[in-house]
Amino acid sequence: MSEKEALFSKKNLKLLTDPLNDSNPITVQVLGICSALAVTAQLKPAVVMSISVIAVLAFANVIVSLLRNTIPNRIRIIVQLVVIASLVILVDQILKAFVYDVSKQLSVFVGLIITNCILMGRLEAFALGNKPWQSFLDGLGNGAGYAWILIVVGFFRELFGSGSVWGYRIVPESWYISNGGFYENNGMMILPPMALIVVGIIIWVQRGRNRKLIEN
């Protein structure tokens, strides 16, 4: 790597864009599935969770990258975990103090960030061997790759499961059978198994369109 690489060189941009499609953490690497199932019954928590994961992942990547030359090899996983856990607690405390409504909205999901495999995965695979700026971009990219899947899944689950999007009613009340109409919400959509099926459909569509992902 040359000494003076432009901040947004082609190589660096690739770190940002690759996880959106070719190496998406959810649909290609199949990481972070548990939280993707848990928080996507409605769009709003999915978006808030996405933003938190992007923030924590980007900062954790930078911190571990800064420490990468000092971390003893044998306890590196523990060090990574401590970094993630402290960041998450810090984020949680700050949210509680300054934006209480958002922190209520997130409730248990903030804690769930710690268990998100994408974080450990990126720290171990990328931040430990790369410079802070690249690690930051990698964190943003992977966070965004995670985010867009969550948002798509949350959108469809809320639309078909509750007949609303972002809490606003889309399916008119008069359509429902209970009001003399013909429509009924799909209760299955609200339950976690359906999130898995929706993720499966996204993977299917993505593989259909992206030839690079098809194994021989």
Binding site: N73, V82, A97, F98, D101, E158, S162
Partner: protein, 232 residues
């Protein structure tokens, strides 16, 4: 220095732990007053929401001071005992036997007369649920209710904290014609129950709905003697 030596590893781990512990403790202590303030404001907002007064985090304190004209603590016999109603922790109280419990009561002056507000606490599916129920001056009809939860499933059990569910309680009675406390029955629309005591349960949120029903029954029962005393 050798990064793989035991000494280095030990020192690194110790320094890291102490550093992180210090940062987190400082953050926790520094932010504590603001967090407490937030929970206090939220509680005031919830109390006011049970009498259908919408507030923002900014004006909640002022409105609370205006509208909540009186608050006190009673025991299970309905006698007023010493204590600050606002700071009573229901989680602690509900762990005690009924005779020793401190039961907070809030009185709110609204355009339609005096309302009595009782706090509630029970169990949902994943964790505690709680809320406030406001009774009209006759101490029978419900004027409003507000519920909240810690971690019920979004779209299912979590629906108890939505206005659509809470509005159903307005106008329902907790005593039947003979004066027996039946509380509120949270049931499917197909189940038969007297209309004046019945609200629709949340589909897919049966355990949360039943927990809410139990919470109302338990907590209103503990206030029963207070209510009888007030009525006479």
């Amino acid at each position: 220095m050798d990064r793989n030596s035991n000494n280095y590893t030990f020192i690194y781990a110790s320094v890291m732990v102490i550093l992180v512990a210090a940062i987190l403790s400082i953050a926790a202590i520094a932010l504590k007053p603001m967090q407490n303030k937030n929970t206090e404001i939220e509680k005031k907002q919830n109390i006011l929401a049970s009498v259908n007064i919408e507030t923002t985090a900014k004006d909640a304190e002022q409105v609370y001071a205006e509208k909540i004209v009186n608050s006190y603590v009673v025991n299970s016999e309905g006698e007023v005992v010493e204590g600050d109603a606002f700071t009573v922790d229901l989680k602690v109280q509900k762990a005690k036997p009924l005779e020793q419990r401190l039961l907070p009561v809030f009185e709110c002056q609204t355009e339609t007369g005096l309302k009595y507000i009782f706090p509630l606490r029970g169990a949902g599916l994943w964790g505690p649920i709680w809320g406030f129920v406001a009774l009209n001056e006759d101490l029978n009809t419900i004027f409003g209710a507000n519920f909240d939860h810690q971690g019920e499933t979004p779209g299912l059990g979590a629906e108890i904290s939505t206005p659509g569910f809470e509005e159903q309680f307005t106008g329902k009675s907790i005593f039947d014609a003979s004066g027996k406390l039946v509380s509120i029955i949270v049931a499917k629309s197909s189940e038969s129950a007297p209309e004046e005591h019945k609200v629709d349960a949340i589909s897919g949120g049966t355990i949360t709905s039943k927990g809410l029903e139990q919470m109302l029954l338990d907590d209103l029962t503990s206030y029963q003697k207070f209510i009888t005393r007030k009525k006479s």
